[in-house]
C-alpha cells in the first residue's frame, strides 16, 4: 500500500513541510478507510488490486494483459476528464475575455485553475482507479467472454483441490487467447475533443481581437445602452423611480407639520398654480427642510439691496422669462415682500402678484399699458440710465422708482403676454372663478388622467394643449416643469403637436 505504514505524529507546534505532509497523509488514509467501510463485505474483493505474487503462474500473462488494459482505460479517463475541464476553462476564458477589461489576470487565473484541475483529476482518478478485477470485468463485457476472465482473476489465489477451478482457469486463458484485448481498448481521442478544439479557436480569435480592442461584449452593451430605443424604453422607468425615491425621501426626512395645511389668517389661499410648483416653494414651513445654500440665496435676494446682491446667485428659473421681457421685474415683488414680512419667500411673493393680477383684470390692462410705455420710454432713458440700472438688467436685480416698481409688478403678471393667445386665455381665466385646491395633487409621470386637474397657467405658458375635461377648461399650458411629467416616448409627439398647433395659430392670427 502506498500509505500503509505508520507515521510519526508531529507536535502541534511543529508546523513544517513534513508535518503538513503527514497531515495530508493521515487525511488521505482516513478517506480511504471511510470508503472501504462503505463497501459491502462481498464487494471488497471486487476492488482488490492484485500484485500477481499470489496468483497462479498461468495467470501472469493474463495479469500483464489486464495491466496494459487498465493503463489504457485510465489514460482514456484522464483524457476525457482533462478535456472536459479544459472545456470549462475555455468557456470561462471566452466569457471573461468578452467581458473583462483585464485579460492578463484572467489568463493567469485560468492557468492556475487548469493546473489545479489537472492535479485534482489525476488525484481523483488515482483514488478511484480500476482494480485488476474490474478491468477483467470490462474485458469480459467487451470481448464476450461470459465472465471467464473475471472469475479466473477472482480465483487466482484459490487452492484448486477439486480441479474445477483449474478447468475454469484453462478455459479463461484459452478464450482470452482468441481475442485481441488491446484492440478492444484503444487509447482514443476524447469525445469532446472537437468541442475543445472549437473553443480553443474561438478563444484564440478573441485573444487576437483583444490585443487592439476592448472587451466586445462590454462595447456591445454600451452601444446598445446608448441607443435611443433603449433610452426611450428605460428613461420613463428611471424617471418614475427617481421621483418615487425623492418623494419617499421627502416623506421620511420632513417633519410632519399639522399646521401646514391650515390657512392662516391674512395668508392667501393656495392657488391652482401651487400644483405646478416644487414642494419647497409651495409650503413655507418646509423652508426649514430646504438646503442651506438655497435658503441663503433667498435671504440674499430678500435682505440685500437690489443691485448689490451676490452676482453669482442665479435667479430662479421661473423668473428668467420675466427678466427677458422686463428689465426690472423683481423690484415690485421685493418691495411688496418687505412690506409683508422678511421671512416670506420669493415664491409666495409671486403667488401674491399672480393673485392680485388675476383678481383685477383692469390692473392687468393697465400694467400692460404701463409695460408698453416703459418699453417706449426705455430707449429714451437709454442715454442717461439711472445708476445701477444696467447692472440690474444684467443681474436680474431691480432698483428704481415706485412707478417702475408698480409697472414691474404688473408686467410680471403679464409676462406671458408675449405669447400669442395668452391675453385671450387671461380673459377667459379671469371670467372663471379660481377655486383654491387645498391639497397638493401630485402629477404622476405616467398618469395622464391627472392632467385633467391641470389649471391654466397664465404666467409662463409656452404652448397649449387640449385636455380631456373640456367643460371646465379647454386648454392647458405646457411649461418646462410639466414637460418633465410627460413620458419620454410621448414628448416628441407632444412637441410636434404643439408646433403644429402653434404654427396653425400663427397662420390663423396673421392677417390674410
Amino acid at each position: 500500500m502506498l500509505f500503509g505504514k505508520t507515521t510519526e505524529q508531529p507536535a502541534p507546534s511543529d508546523v513544517s513541510g513534513r508535518a503538513s505532509f503527514y497531515v495530508l497523509k493521515d487525511a488521505w488514509a482516513g478517506l480511504s478507510s471511510a470508503d472501504r467501510a462503505k463497501d459491502p463485505p462481498n464487494l471488497a474483493s471486487l476492488q482488490q488490486d492484485l500484485s500477481g505474487q499470489n496468483c497462479s503462474d498461468e495467470l501472469h500473462g493474463t495479469l500483464g494483459t489486464l495491466k496494459v488494459l487498465r493503463q489504457r482505460i485510465l489514460a482514456n479517463i484522464v483524457l476525457d476528464g482533462w478535456t472536459e475541464w479544459s472545456i470549462c476553462i475555455l468557456i470561462g476564458l471566452i466569457i471573461a475575455g468578452a467581458v473583462s477589461a483585464k485579460l492578463a489576470g484572467v489568463l493567469i487565473l485560468a492557468a492556475v485553475l487548469l493546473v489545479i484541475g489537472v492535479a485534482v483529476i489525476f488525484t481523483w482518478i488515482w483514488r478511484t482507479r480500476l482494480s485488476t478485477y474490474e478491468t477483467a470485468c470490462r474485458l469480459d463485457a467487451a470481448a464476450g467472454l461470459q465472465d471467464r476472465v473475471s472469475t479466473a482473476i477472482y480465483l487466482c489465489d484459490a487452492k484448486d483441490s477439486d480441479g474445477i477451478v483449474q478447468q475454469q482457469r484453462h478455459d479463461a486463458i484459452l478464450r482470452l487467447a482468441k481475442v485481441d484485448p488491446r484492440g478492444l481498448f484503444p487509447v482514443q481521442a476524447p469525445a469532446a475533443a472537437s468541442h475543445a478544439l472549437v473553443l480553443v479557436l474561438v478563444f484564440g480569435g478573441l485573444f487576437v481581437y483583444r490585443i487592439n480592442h476592448r472587451a466586445p461584449l462590454v462595447a456591445l452593451l454600451q452601444t446598445t445602452a446608448r441607443s435611443s430605443l433603449v433610452q426611450s424604453i428605460f428613461s420613463p422607468i428611471v424617471h418614475a423611480m427617481e421621483k418615487d425615491l425623492e418623494r419617499t425621501i421627502a416623506l421620511v426626512t420632513l417633519k410632519p407639520d399639522p399646521q401646514a395645511d391650515e390657512v392662516r389668517p391674512g395668508e392667501a389661499l393656495p392657488t391652482a398654480d401651487d400644483l405646478w410648483q416644487p414642494a419647497e416653494e409651495k409650503k413655507p414651513d418646509m423652508k426649514d427642510a430646504m438646503p442651506q445654500d438655497m435658503m441663503n440665496q433667498d435671504e440674499d435676494q430678500e435682505g440685500k439691496p437690489e443691485g448689490q446682491g451676490n452676482p453669482n446667485a442665479m435667479p430662479p428659473a421661473d423668473q428668467q422669462p420675466q427678466q427677458g421681457n422686463n428689465g426690472q421685474p423683481q423690484q415690485g415683488n421685493s418691495k411688496q415682500s418687505d412690506s409683508q414680512g422678511s421671512q416670506q419667500s420669493l415664491t409666495q411673493k409671486m403667488m401674491d402678484a399672480l393673485k392680485n393680477m388675476m383678481s383685477d383684470p383692469k390692473n392687468k390692462q393697465n400694467s400692460k399699458d404701463g409695460q408698453q410705455q416703459n418699453q417706449q420710454n426705455a430707449p429714451q432713458q437709454g442715454g442717461n440710465p439711472p445708476p445701477g440700472s444696467q447692472e440690474s438688467d444684467k443681474k436680474g436685480d431691480s432698483k428704481g422708482s415706485s412707478d417702475q416698481k408698480q409697472n414691474a409688478s404688473k408686467s410680471a403678471g403679464s409676462g406671458a403676454g408675449s405669447q400669442k393667445g395668452t391675453n385671450e386665455m387671461l380673459k377667459e381665466q379671469a371670467a372663471r372663478p379660481v377655486n383654491a385646491t387645498p391639497d397638493r395633487v401630485a402629477l404622476e409621470a405616467t398618469g395622464f388622467k391627472e392632467q385633467t386637474r391641470m389649471r391654466v397657467d397664465t404666467e409662463t405658458g409656452t404652448a397649449r394643449m387640449a385636455v380631456k375635461d373640456g367643460s371646465a377648461q379647454t386648454e392647458a399650458v405646457i411649461n418646462g416643469a410639466e414637460q418633465e411629467n410627460i413620458p419620454a416616448r410621448y414628448r416628441l409627439y407632444v412637441q410636434r403637436y404643439f408646433e403644429h398647433t402653434d404654427s396653425g395659430s400663427k397662420s390663423s392670427s396673421e392677417p390674410h
Partner: protein, 337 residues
Amino acid sequence: MSTSVGTEGQKSNQPLGQQAEFLAEKMGEVRREISKAIVGQGEVVDGVLMALLAGGHVLLEGAPGLGKTMLVRTLAQAVALKYSRIQFTPDLMPADVIGTSMVQEGGDGRHILGFQPGPVFTNLLLADEINRATPKTQSALLEAMQEKQVTVAHTSHQLDEPFFVMATQNPLEMEGTYPLPEAQLDRFLFKLRVPFPGREDLNDILDRTTQGTTVQVRPVVNGPQIMDMRQVVRTVPVAPHVQEYVVKLTLATHPEGRENLLASKYIRYGSSPRGAQTLILGGKVRALLAGRFNVSLEDIRALLLPALRHRIILNFEAQADGRTTDDLLEEIAGKIS
C-alpha cells in the same frame, strides 16, 4: 427400474473438473434422447434438465396436447429413473398421494398396521393438472418436495433420491381449479411455459406420431450419477459481481425498496430468497451445460423468468393495466446494471 447405464459410482472418484466435463457430455446425450420423442420445446427440455441437476422441481404450464406428459415420460426413460403419475382431481385425498397406514397381514398370520406408500415414493413424479386438486391435497406435496420425506402417523418416511416432481397445469380452464398457494409455488425451482410448436415442429410432430413408427429412448444416466452431478454443480464458482447482480435482482422485485418504483407500483409480494438460490444454482447448471466452469451474467439473465415468474405476486393495479410478471421482470432487469 432397470439401470442399464452401468456407470454408477464410476465417476465419483474423478476430479470435479472431469466430472463437470462428464456432466456436460451426458446431459447432451440426454437432450438428444429426449429430442427423439419431443419435437422442439428446446427451452423446456433444458429447463427440465437444469432443474433435475439443480435438485429442484418444475411446474409446467401449457395448453393441453403440447406434450407435457410425454416429456416427463421420455425424461424418465432417458435418465433411467422410477416414474409415477398422479392425475390430480378435486376428490383426490392426501393419502392418495403420500400413502396411508393400513392393516396388513404378516407372514405369521398376525395383522399389523403397516404403511402403504403412495405414488409419491418414486424418483420422477408427474403431478398432472395439479391445480385441480384441493389445497389440502396440494399441500400434501409440500413436505415431500422440500424435505424429501413424508410423515404419516407420526412416522417420517424418506423418499428415494433423486426425487423430482414435475407438475403441470392448464392455464385455460380455470373453473373448478384451485390455484396453488404461494408456499407451494415457491417450492418449484422453475415455472416453465410450454409454447405452442412452430410450423416445422408441428409438421415433424405429425410425421412422427401418425406413421406408426415407435421411438426407443435409451437410458443415458441413472440416479446415482445424477446425484453426483448435483454435487458437481455446487462446486461451480460464482464471481462476486455475478452474485451481487443476483442480489440486486431479487431485491428489486420487492415493493418495499424506495428505489423500486416499478415494483412498488405493480408488485404485491416480491421474490423469496429461494429465488436468488434458484438463480445461482440454475446459473451453475446452465454454465456446465454450456461447457463453462463459471457462472456469468448471461446465465442469470437467461434464468430470470423461469426462476422468478412464479415467485412474484402482482397487485390489482398490474392486473388492471394488463401487466404480466414476465414484462415486469424484464423491465426490472433492464434497469439493473
